[in-house]
Each structure stands twice: as C-alpha cells, then as structure tokens.
C-alpha cells in the first residue's frame, strides 16, 4: 500500500519539494507494453512506407498513361 504525506497542491510546491513515499511501484514501465508498442510502430512504419509507394506508383502510372495517349503518334510507330 502506497503511503505518502499530503501532496503539494500548487505548482510551486511540486517543483520545490520532493516527499518520500514507501511501498511505491518497483517497475515504472511494463515490458509487455513496450514490446507490443515496438512491434506495432515498426509494422506501422513499414505499412505506411508500402502504402505511400503503391499510391505514388499508381499516380505516376496514371499520369504517364494520360501523357502517352496525348502524345502525337510518330509515323514509324
């Protein structure tokens, strides 16, 4: 059970004093949460990169198609 003396109520109090507590949490970050966050972010970067690539390729292909149709046909073509 966390035991603490009354917490300071003002911003000045929080920035100018630290009060000891006993029985506080020994771990500040969960390994599971960090692991899952890392995997999710890595896959999000990869998927975002792939999505941007396919989208841009489709836009370039579309514009190239329009230009190729608009260009006058060469007599030898």
């Amino acid at each position: 059970m966390l035991q603490a003396s009354p917490a300071p109520t003002t911003a000045e109090g929080r920035s100018q004093e630290f009060r000891p507590v006993t029985g506080g949490p020994t771990q500040t970050s969960s390994a599971e949460a960090l692991l899952i966050t890392a995997y999710v972010l890595m896959w999000a970067i990869l998927m975002g990169f792939l999505f941007a690539t396919f989208r841009r390729q489709a836009a370039v292909d579309k514009r190239l198609g329009e230009l190729e149709r608009a260009l006058p046909k060469r007599p030898d073509a």
Binding site: T28, L34, I45, Q57, V60, E68
Partner: protein, 232 residues
C-alpha cells in the same frame, strides 16, 4: 510477366517468413535476463535485422550514388534514391524499437551513447537526401548533390558499426561478445538468423519497388517535357 510472378513469389515467402518468425519469437524463444530487458529483449529479433537492412540499403545508395557521379543515368540515380528512401524507413524502424527496449533495460528512452548518436546522424543524412529529392526537384544539380550526400551517409555507417568497439557506451555487443557470453540459447540464435533472412528479402523487395518508382518518375518528367500542354 515472369518477373512479376517472381516478385509475387518473393512477397509471399517474405510474408510467411515474418509470420513464422513472429510466432517463433513469441512462443518458443525464451525471455532474457531482467538486466537485458526481460520480455522487452524480444524487440532485439527485429531491431538488429532492421539495422542490418539499413546497412544494406545504405550500401545500395552508396553504389548507386558513386556510379551516378561517375556516369549519370536514370537507373543509377533511381537505385541511389531508392537506397536512401529504404535506409530512412529501416532507420525509422530501428529508432522506434531501440528506445522502447532501452526504456526497460536502461530506464531511459535515449542517451547520447556513441552508437545511438552516430546512427541518428547517419539516418538524418538519408532523411536529408529524401527531402532534397522530394522538395528541390530532380535536376542534374540536385541529383549530384544527393549522390554526394549518399556517399557521405554510407561513409558514416562503418563509424556506426564500430563505435561500440571504439568508444564503448551502453549499447550491447552480444553479436561479437567482448568478454561476455554472447547469445547462448539456440532458439535465440535461430530467431536472429530468421530475422536477418526476412529483412534481407524485405529490403530487396522495397529497394526494387522504390527503384521502379524512381525510374517511372524520371520517365514522367521526360514525357511532360515532350507534352507540356497536357498538364492538369
């Protein structure tokens, strides 16, 4: 048509490899000691291969850039550009996964360790190349400027790699343990090798996609020069 089938096949193998690897890492690979991050150490099996993929893409950027400076062609420029873009993407993966592991193992997300600092510098160089190419156009001067930057970015990579041996720091060196035991568990080694294999396939695919895109963009620029009245 045949090359399209080959690419689809490589995509399928890559996706299956990643799927199998994730299952293997979560179900079979044992948790590391608490000082190494405990469960969070499992980030390592994708973090280290992503860093290796960054080196691969940096190498492609270096070769493409050097060849472009020696004799400019659209294809050489496309591979240099693709290398820098993929190196930035893999750099992003390394930079988000590493600090999350560090938070558990070191208690902080970031420290100005020689490996972390030199890697950040290298990634920023690749990001600078991407920004230059996206926002300053694709003229010959911009391409040459980016190529020079591509050579510089990859020249930093050996410094990144050997920074731990040269200057120490907090970053682990389990792959070539210096005084420690390295990786002892066979499942951990298998997972890491699987990660290297999967990231090699992924890097090859991404590089091919981005190089094809860059070549198409160069074709588009030339086609627009020939048909200026079709804009819009």
């Amino acid at each position: 048509m045949r090359s399209r089938g080959l690419i689809v096949g490589v995509w399928a193998v890559t996706a299956l490899t990643f799927f199998a690897l994730i299952l293997f890492v979560f179900l079979k690979v044992p948790e590391a000691q608490p000082q190494a991050g405990g469960l969070a150490q499992k980030i390592f099996y994708f973090h280290v291969p992503a860093a290796y993929a960054l080196y691969l893409c940096g190498g492609v950027c270096f070769i493409g850039s050097a060849l472009y400076l020696a004799g400019p062609t659209d294809a050489r420029d496309a591979w240099a550009k693709a290398g820098a873009e993929c190196a930035s993407a893999f750099g992003g993966m390394v930079m988000v996964s590493g600090p999350l592991w560090a938070k558990k193992a070191w208690g902080v997300y970031w420290t100005w360790d020689p490996r972390l600092t030199s890697l950040l510098l290298s990634i920023l160089i690749y990001v600078a190349i991407v920004l230059v190419r996206n926002f300053m156009g694709s003229g010959d001067a911009e391409r040459k400027f980016a190529a020079a930057f591509g050579i510089l970015g990859t020249a930093v990579l050996p410094i990144v790699h050997f920074s731990v041996q040269l200057w120490g720091g907090n970053h682990p060196r389990v792959l070539k343990a210096n005084g420690g035991e390295g990786i002892k568990d066979p499942a951990m080694i298998q997972a890491l090798l699987g990660g290297f294999f999967a990231m090699t396939l992924l890097a090859a695919l991404l590089l091919t996609l981005r190089a094809n895109l860059a070549i198409s963009q160069a074709r588009l620029v030339r086609a627009e020069e020939l048909a200026p009245d079709t804009n819009g």
